[in-house]
Symmetry: C7
Subunit: 271 residues, 7 copies
């Protein structure tokens, strides 16, 4: 900025700053245009997906989910764009953003590792919401805990256990999800009869009792069937009975089925 004659060249300085200002204005305009286009694209993409999906289903839950997901996508886009914009502005004024950030590296690395779990939580949470793996009030098994889903957050999911305990599960700890509230369930009862009982007759009597029982219970989808000999040893023969039931009714049906079969067994013995 000082020529070799040693005089300050004011015209040059003004010219340089003029270029900087022009570049800045152009940058801001580009930034605003890109941001606006991006936001609209995100909005339309979710709108379209929402319309396709929800022509049939219950609308209120999916609306809430749509809003949450759209807001996340929109936020990530905004922050990234802002970051890039600020970086270019810094560079325009001759400040090397790289140096500053490399300077922030030691802190950054440590935080990065520490916050890694946080990001992992959010990414997993995002996909749990997007793929609708669990819903509030579903009965699920997550990270080794059984319970009813109370809340699905981006960072933690809350389960209410059978004994009343409230579990806060960081999403990153959720690997495979076992959702027990998607479709009909199977009730399964194993019955041990003594070795000297006639197997054919026992199966026949039990199947009759099962058929009678199926008529009285409308939680049963597919009547209890006696499958056959599951295993046997020197004193007992174990027979297996299975039965398809409405969701969440499987334990109740199992308990009732056990009672019915116990009474049938007592009859067989007393014969």
């Amino acid at each position: 900025m000082i020529d070799w004659i040693g005089q300050v060249n004011w015209m040059q300085i003004l010219f340089n700053w003029g270029i900087v200002v022009v570049k800045l204005i152009v940058l801001i305009i580009i930034y605003l245009i890109v941001k606006s286009i991006g936001q609209r694209a995100i909005h339309k993409a979710f709108e379209r997906k929402h319309n396709q999906e929800n022509s049939v289903k219950d609308d209120t839950i999916s609306l809430g989910r749509k809003k949450t997901l759209q807001s996340i996508a929109s936020n990530i886009f905004s922050y990234f764009l802002l970051f890039v914009f600020l970086g270019i502005v810094f560079e325009l004024f001759g400040l090397d953003i790289k140096a500053l950030l490399a300077g922030a590296g030691i802190i950054g690395l440590a935080i990065g590792f520490g916050a890694q779990g946080l990001v992992s939580d959010v990414v997993t949470g995002f996909f749990i919401l997007l793929e609708k793996q669990i819903d509030v009030d579903d009965y699920v098994t997550l990270a080794g805990y059984d319970g009813i889903v109370e809340e699905i957050g981006l960072r933690t999911t809350k389960l209410r256990g059978f004994d009343g305990t409230l579990y806060y599960i960081p999403n990153r700890e959720i690997g495979s999800v076992s959702n027990h509230s998607r479709g009909n369930m199977q009730a399964l009862v194993d019955i041990a009869i003594t070795c000297d009982t006639n197997i054919d007759e026992a199966i026949r009597t039990m199947q009759q009792a099962c058929d009678t029982f199926a008529l009285t219970e409308n939680a049963i989808i597919e009547g209890p069937d006696v499958l056959g000999v599951e295993s046997f040893d020197s004193s007992n023969v174990v027979l297996r009975v299975i039965c398809k039931t409405k969701n969440m009714e499987q334990w109740n049906i199992e308990r009732k089925l056990r009672k019915v079969l116990k009474e049938v067994l007592d009859e067989i013995k007393s014969d």
Copy 2:
């Protein structure tokens, strides 16, 4: 700084230093403005959140929590800003902060890995406070330890175990939190009756005893119910009784319920 004639160009040097001083002053002003705006924004954000949340609840605990969280957020912001400011100042004087920090890299990397656990502690602790996953005096299960929460710190959480042991748990070891002090609990008693007892009658008698018991105990929210046959083998039929109780009263109710049901069983047998 020396022209090609070989003479020191004092004017140029003065001019250069003048620019540096002007830049420095501008920097300090910008630094102070950004810091002040940031601090206020943090303060207002917490104020607003505090007002929304605590219109109903007990005010003293949440006030303490608010202060802790606000102080953390404010500190992180201040240190980051200071770091960036110092980086730009170093650069102004022609010192390459990057080189120094890269030089500090071997030490930094080692410390970074070592301190990683520390950061992980603080991040987890921050979210435990923010999401109110545990409170002092809650009965919780953390990292495999059962106990009453004595103190929730940013680095460690202190639990007092049932046998009087004090557990210091680094927050990073806290994954899923099992909080047993959020809402009513379930008491559960499994009773084995002999095989030849009439199941229907046994259930009826036990239910009567349960109903009577429920009247005498006001820690019971939802009367003890005999669910049915949980399992059975050649000699015993196991019946399950569950009962919703006030928080922390579940073990007491379970013990009393066991005594009541034991006496009922003795009656049934002696009949």
Copy 3:
């Protein structure tokens, strides 16, 4: 852009911008050509592979698989090319894309670690599809869960468990795949006979019963064979019977075989 006389050299500026524009046009042309060639190459590669593979097999499933795989390969190629193109354009305008991206480093590193699981899901999912390790309706064991495959996605695979539970398994958790629906299965029954029974005779009688049984069951591929003495102790001699069956019929055959052998055993004893 300003010569040492201190005047703005407009001609030079125009010339420079001209070069930039020419370079940009050349770049766009190269970009479009490379993209078009790449896409065609991917298309042809899949077409050829498809033709080789599917001359015999059921065409609809493999068509769906081909489309999914081709679309993935095509997308990855497009995004990578676009990224490289944008980088060169940025550089053309004198913006250092490296700096911006290094600036995005802290965020990027954290996201990178977080999203690592996501990429791992997709890579594993891609190979599961490519190598046809599992198909919809196969009975498989994945990541410790048994079930019928309901859906194979790039990120998650859905299994329907025997008890009706729906498992969402992130592909990265799938290591070794146990596919129980590829070829005939083996039914295996271990029978304990008392120590004082004549082993030779027992084996002979059981083999006869097995042969008779094999005639009545057409799910049996290779008749049940009594292998011999698997183990014995002071009171029992255990004999093993195996039998090759049609896929998914193994449990049914096992149950029937157990019943048949139990009845044979009762006969031997009563002799």
Copy 4:
């Protein structure tokens, strides 16, 4: 340093070296000032903290701890400052410290990974001292080992096990600390009575024996209480007795309590 006429410009060289010397002197002065201020700040911070904490407690232990902690903080500060100072000096003489250190990278990386455990030890040790999680002569459980603390070092903690073994535990292996020497402990005895004993009477008799026992033992803080029926099966009813005792007296009280209750039980039976 050689003008275009080809002659050595001695004046310029002298001038350059003069600037370097001036810069060096300024650097050393700044270094000494910053070091002195930093050391004082650390000293005062520890002094103040020490005065607040130790107005009441035993002064000798905390004095030792204060000195250890202050010395660590002071050392880390000194080394870091020295490192930065040397880096700037190297740069002043035109040597790129970055290159050297990058050169030392392969060795450094390997050592870094190897020494990582060492740093992790020191960081954990620092916080164990700072938060007073364990003291010499405490009875604790660390990293799966039970014992009395013999020495707390920055790298290793020494425990003397019950059987006389000396455990050297690297601090990094210490996750959660179970300190059994902080406050009163709970003694717990489970007593099985036969099924046909009258529960009410058994509880009453045992409670009387407990009350009598409590009078003779001054290690008991809160008299032994018979809680009730903990569990029962077909032959036994298990009653639980708990009792708050002075620290480290819990096993002794448990042993005596077991003896007392055994004798009470014998009386009940013989009735």
Copy 5:
């Protein structure tokens, strides 16, 4: 490219481009020579190794293996060379390939971590092939699965389990390989005799039965030997019998041996 008079210096530009073209041609020639030499070296290395190894053995399998391995080595060499060539060409045209690739860093890092497993598969697969650790139709234990090898791929190895299940095992999950099809196997039978039997006589009788048995079975390599008393308790003395058999015949021999020894034992008792 514009001198300080402000005129475009066409001659200079042409000269520069000329140099670039010359460099490019030299580069391409060097590239082709290096590639051709490298490919030949790889081919010869495999040829020589093949000739040394296979003078004796079965030629068809090792031919297939040779081709697979040579094709891998050749491909890796080609891709690496192409990559280096493209990098130099990019640099020639003044494009900084480093910047682009650093730009591709975030994506690359994520993919790198995700694809890491893939590379690990291929490296392990390469060595399994090279060291001939397993062959098709070997009976092996890999990653916890027992089975007959159906296919050895670079990414996955397929095992057919005993029950008919097909296991797809990613090579990276293969650590130690247990190959049960390399050489003769040992059959091992433990026989418990009652405590009051004379040990010397029992051993003698059993050895005689073993010797007789060995004559009738040609799958036996080294006759069954009664080793002696393996363990004993108050009621039983356990004797161990081992026997070297042809590969895959060990279970059959074990079963027959058990039957023979069982009959001997019955004789001893009945004496």
Copy 6:
């Protein structure tokens, strides 16, 4: 090195090389001085530490340890200094050592990871020697192996197990060290007496036998004490006896104590 008139400026070249030579000589002098000072400092530090420590103890072992440790410290210092020196020399000749080393990066990274375990071994070995955690002939538990220490190396430690096996344990696998040869050990014997024995009398008789036994054994430091009732069930009451013994005599004392107490018990019964 060629002025714009196009003539080679020999004087300038000579001058430049002269500066390089001067710098090189200065460097070598500084290198030698720093090396010599560093070596002396290390020597003195070990000398001083040695003198402090070994005024009392057995001198030969600690002398060997001192030499090993000093040699390690001296080596590390030498190699590091040499590396830095070579780096500066390379730079002096205009060779960018960074580039070379970055070039060696792929190999280096792979080796770095592989050699990481080696460094980890040496670091752990260094501290085991420095802190004297184990000595040759100590009876210790390391990495799950019990045995007598035969040799402590920088990379591996050799243990001789009880059954004669020689264990080579890489130092990195040594986490917590259990040293059973530091101080007196505790012998512990649990004795079960039948339920109907008078507890008070049993304890008294056993204590007498213990006292008598203590007189005959001079390996006992603190006489065997009967602590009291450790546990009891419906048929047995378990009493615990502990006893402090000389190091390595604990098992012998335990065996003798068991014999003595067994005989006492027989007496009590026969009464």
Copy 7:
């Protein structure tokens, strides 16, 4: 290379290329000298070590080991030197090897991680050879597998298991080595005698039988000793007998000892 008058300065170009050629020649000479010196140093180091070690021992095995180790060291040195040499040559021609290699980064990183296991194998294998931890025909336990060592390679070690299985163990999976073929082994037999036997007499009789037995067996190094009462319960007293034997004879001695002691016990009972 073109002065501001616009003419090609051929003389300058020639001069530049001349310098490059001179530098190249110097480089090659230095390269050859360093390589030759390094190789000789490695050769001498191994020669010297070999002479020291093998003055006594069996020469053929250690010769093979020496050659393998020397060849590895020599190869690593050669490749490293070649790499550095090529890097300097590339730089000489103005090609930035760093850029190319950074370009190869994505591939390199992925391969690096994948090949990491390979390097880890070689490093471990190198030290197993160097420290002679295992020899061919040793009976060892590695990575959980028991067996006789068949081959020790740089990447894998082959074990022949007791049942004939051949284990291929990647060296990286070898942590602690348990070598059962270094020195004498201990045979250990635990004998349970009934509670009412006189302990003193039983020990005396057993010791006599042991002494007699020791005379007949020359595989015994240190006669079997009855240590005393290892444990006892209400029905049995367990006595321990140990005995030092020749290597690999321990199981045989244990079997014979069991037989002898069993017969002694029968005598005691029949008394």
